[in-house]
């Protein structure tokens, strides 16, 4: 059985906790968490939403990126108590009704992944980028994803996937370039 790190006792003194209410992918959860619990651990270990990955655990790699109130943040560098009352979106919330989100289609069509470890973070940061700037240049895309590391693709197909998605979201009938 997996050990829930959040429940591991720590000496000395009692571990302090707090009850939070968080809406994750449209579902509201009320949970009592340790003050020190990281958002990424809350998502993975408490809610069992394991699509959000832990890469470097030092806020460099971006594998743990989720959207908080629509804004990308590194969930390994945020406490669960900080998102009390807020809305969180993870990769599990992208597809709806069995239909892939356009960014997922883009990564699928352009082969925007190899091992897939960085992919959830890459897709979420891209969703926020395209919401702010629906028609980004290649340079804007590369700057936009510069907080997310990929060690397989060399980024070429990731950039293509985001361009594919941008084109498709602007003109759904044509289905991309």
């Amino acid at each position: 059985m997996a050990v829930d790190v959040a429940e591991t006792p720590q000496a000395p003194g009692p571990i302090t906790t707090r009850t939070i209410q968080v809406t994750v992918n449209g579902v509201t959860h009320k949970s009592t968490v340790q003050n020190r619990m990281l958002l990424v651990s809350y998502l993975r270990e408490r809610l069992r939403l394991t699509g959000t990955h832990i890469g470097c655990d030092t806020a460099h790699c971006g594998a743990c990126t989720v959207l908080v109130d629509g804004i990308p943040v590194k969930s390994c560098n945020l406490l669960a108590v900080q998102v009390d009352g807020r809305k969180v979106q993870t990769v599990e919330g992208l597809a709806s009704g069995g239909k892939l989100h356009p960014i997922q289609e883009g990564f699928h069509e352009e082969h925007g992944l190899q091992c897939g470890y960085c992919t959830p973070g890459m897709m979420l940061v891209s969703v926020a980028l395209l919401a702010q700037n629906p028609n980004p240049t290649e340079d804007e895309i590369r700057r936009g994803i510069s907080g997310n590391l990929c060690r397989c693709t060399g980024y070429v197909n990731i950039v293509k996937a985001i361009q594919h998605t941008a084109a498709k979201m602007q003109n759904p009938a044509k289905g991309g370039p």
């Binding site: 020190r36 560098n77 406490l79």
Partner: protein, 291 residues
């Protein structure tokens, strides 16, 4: 990797936050963006007994240009600073820096107040605030006071902010006509701290000579450094090649870098010399209407 245990408070007012800080007598830390603090807690470099999360306090995030000053609320995210039109138009040193702080995702959460009050010599905004002659508003149990950025930084992670004070606002003297500013950061890769970085603001008077100059240096000493001699040297000069060269040498003399993976002392000092010269040239070009 979990931080050690701590008490967590989410006050709704600055007064409440000050009361909590006062009550914990130096054992509490203010949590703004937390983009440095939480990482340090995970590594046990910081183990505060309590975190005072100021994110629930309304009206601490704003950028406003007033008659005499540009005022920035402590909770303004660095991404917001980077998007501000008024900042880009008249205080571009801050736009330049905002584009190079950590990475875009970190900038979404990291704050201006956190960046200037944390006290890490690698933070980019302190040198900018020194160049701009900014003042910080510190609110404590006995009321508010202002601290000039040039006198704020005492040692690595040691600042003039008292343990029971909250930094609530940055106030920058309004940039008048003929003012130009720029920030240049030498970094090995996105997200790294500077090998060396230079912030410059100057103003070219009607006669064509410089009548206001400020130069700040990032990550080339135990704190951000105000290069006073280099700044004073520029006063009354027109900004010839030899003026810029001499100012670069004086700024380099003011730096006190440590050797690390980013390079030895001699290299860093030389980078301060070269990048100061280039950054002054950029600020001068902007003062004369360029980009």
């Amino acid at each position: 990797m979990y931080p050690p245990n701590f008490e967590y408070y989410a006050p709704k007012t600055v007064q409440e936050a000050i009361g909590l800080l006062d009550q914990h007598q130096g054992e509490a830390k203010v949590l703004a963006g937390g983009q440095s603090l939480i990482g340090m807690m995970k590594l046990r470099l910081a183990q505060p007994a309590a975190l005072i999360d100021i994110n629930r306090i309304p009206d601490l995030a704003y950028i406003r240009e007033e008659e005499a000053a540009l005022v920035i609320g402590a909770l303004t995210r660095t991404a917001e600073l980077g998007r501000s039109e008024v900042v880009r138009a008249r205080y571009p040193v801050l736009s330049d820096a905002a584009a190079e702080i950590a990475d875009p995702t970190v900038r979404n959460w990291g704050t201006v107040g956190g960046n200037v009050s944390h006290g890490d010599p690698g933070n980019d905004l302190p040198a900018c605030m020194m160049a701009l002659g900014a003042e910080y508003r510190a609110e404590g149990p006995k009321g508010a006071r202002t601290i000039p950025a040039r006198q704020f930084y005492q040692d690595s992670f040691v600042t003039a902010l008292r343990p029971n004070e909250v930094l609530t606002q940055v106030r920058i003297p309004r940039a008048g006509p003929g003012t130009g500013s720029a920030y240049s950061k030498m970094e090995r890769k996105v997200g790294d701290f500077a090998t060396a970085a230079v912030a410059v603001q100057l103003r070219v008077g009607k006669g064509g000579s410089i009548d206001l100059a400020g130069i700040g240096l990032t990550n080339v000493g135990p704190t951000a450094i105000y290069a006073a001699a280099a700044s004073e040297f520029l006063m009354g000069k027109t900004g010839t090649d030899s003026d810029l060269k001499r100012a670069g040498e004086l700024a380099s003399d003011a730096s006190r870098p440590f050797p690390d993976n980013r390079g030895p002392v001699e290299f860093k000092k030389d980078m301060v010399r070269v990048w100061t010269r280039r950054t002054i040239a950029h600020a001068l070009a902007r003062a004369k209407g360029g980009k």
